[in-house]
Assembly symmetry: C2
Homo-oligomer: 316 residues x 2
């Protein structure tokens, strides 16, 4: 019964995922989430994008931080500091409760997909949040300071090193989960949406899994992407800085060209309407709408626009 | 340079260990701690006795609870409850910080001995806290409700099932750590002390390790035990109930007979002076003193008495 598959990373992707979840029944929507940011820390399996999507769907996200739980406290982290243990990656007390719950599930032999499902159910979420793979894939950032694990680059070094490329360690051996493949091959599928997430390090790792890439290339439904770049900058995170350091304009047109003919249309913000004139015939169609999601209603409005676009476009 | 090896379990043992640590330099004292209570929970390795000894030596124990940290908060546990995850075994926020620190050490390939040492150092402890073995040994309680894992019996079922015996799963294959064996064979060793811990489930698992038992049997120094029974009851925990259910009087004389000729003398409380008349010639020597350790000074006083006794006794 899957009608829409949405690929997403963290904050921006989670917001559109939330909008889609308000408009589609649980069986109609599958959210395929990047796990390239995942890592092992303090013995816990940290899944930043899965958790951001989970917290956002549960309306428990920390909007101020852009990660972690709302109404959070920091007692464990304070004591880790007192013990001179690692504190560079912040985990609140409520967040640690979720991580311990996941750790117990994983230690009892559950797959990441099963553990994610169980945690989501505990938070009252009925829509499917699907890790792109149960096999670990780890995004490595190639920089002027050498190759860095994603969280080293992103959190510890605050995205300061200059990026020269990416490597998705493990992606060559990783299989998409059965649940992801089932969603992508659902007979009722009407479209695929790339949420407004970083094309390099949020959507990129998902596309690096051969099963998923092949299924998308062979699809018979429209595929639209929503640009994370608005008015010459990324709404959140290092996408803009990465585009520039890799020699591209910080522009939705660059995003369109990164996705190329894999996508049928790119949704761009009304602030970037002038890009319509710069588009060439080899670029994907550009569709202008308001993409900035400040309030919850904005998420639903953008989701509605995306679903309408999917219905309007010819089959892929 | 080890002069004294003390074997101990939780609260009572930890108190005497604290007293000994005030009188002996770090290199002079080795504390060999029961790991039979350890278990895996929420993906964490829980080591109740090691942690009680550690917190007590660091003066951070929760005296009211008899387990865990002082000045503790419970935010993670509350959220675990909200997530309907396991909450029957209580872990405070500060305690979880210690457990995550240990988990990270273990995941990085450290032995339990090394991890215990590293955690103790973070808390400013210089004396050696040595897990009896780096191989897991798990105390199983045989009861009228079947065989129960120790924490199921102790915490979940509040010691209610009637005990018929014990099994120390893994003890037959477990080796004492090199650090424990080095302490027991130290050329300067002057004596061994069994702290006032439960003879069945605190000292028992340590003695179930063949390396340790053999070393104690072959020792050339005095071995004294301090009874955990005072005035017809255990000061803490199920030792009294266990003695009764296994057909023995709740009395220090029962403890003396459990240890038998493995020990040279049993230290009993002044409240139990009348036991001197009941002692038979096959029982270990009984030495009367104040064993109740209400204040920190009591711990030091009892430790001083034990060290004096070790010096007075003939070589074992």
């Amino acid at each position: 019964m899957t009608r829409i598959v949405a690929l997403c990373g963290g904050v921006g992707g989670a917001k559109l995922a939330y909008g889609l979840a308000q408009l589609l029944r649980p069986e109609e929507l599958a959210l395929v989430v990047n796990t390239g940011d995942d890592f092992e820390h303090l013995g816990l399996t940290i899944c930043p994008d899965i958790d951001t999507v989970t917290y956002t769907l549960a309306e428990k996200e920390n909007a101020a931080h852009g990660w972690g739980r709302n109404a959070e406290s920091w007692h464990v982290m304070e004591e880790l500091g007192a013990l001179q243990s690692d504190t560079w990656f912040k985990l609140g007390d409520k967040d640690i409760a979720l991580h311990l719950t996941r750790l117990q599930l994983l230690n009892h032999g559950k797959s990441l997909t099963q553990a994610t499902q169980a945690v989501a159910a505990k938070l009252g979420i009925k829509h499917r949040i699907l890790p792109m793979s149960d096999t670990p894939v780890r995004t490595m950032v190639l920089t002027d300071q050498g190759e860095l694990a994603f969280q080293d680059y992103f959190v510890r070094l605050r995205c300061e090193p200059k990026v020269t490329g990416f490597r998705f360690a493990g992606a060559d051996r990783a299989r998409a989960s059965a649940e992801v493949m089932a969603a992508l091959s659902a007979p009722d599928l009407q479209g695929v949406i790339f949420c407004p997430s970083n094309p390099y390090v949020s959507i990129g790792p998902i596309l690096a899994i051969a099963d998923i890439r092949r299924a998308l290339e062979a699809r018979r439904v429209p595929l639209i992407a929503v640009s994370p770049i608005v008015g010459g900058q990324a709404l959140k995170g290092p996408a803009g800085k990465m585009l520039r350091e890799l020699g591209r304009d910080i522009s939705s047109l660059s995003v369109a060209r990164l996705y190329g003919n894999l996508v049928d249309a790119l949704v761009i913000d009304e602030q970037d309407r002038s890009l319509l004139q710069q588009r060439t015939t080899t670029d994907p169609e550009l569709v202008v709408t308001r993409t900035v999601m400040s309030a919850r209603e904005d998420r639903v409005a953008l989701a509605r626009r995306c679903l309408a676009l999917v219905e309007r476009l010819p089959l892929g």
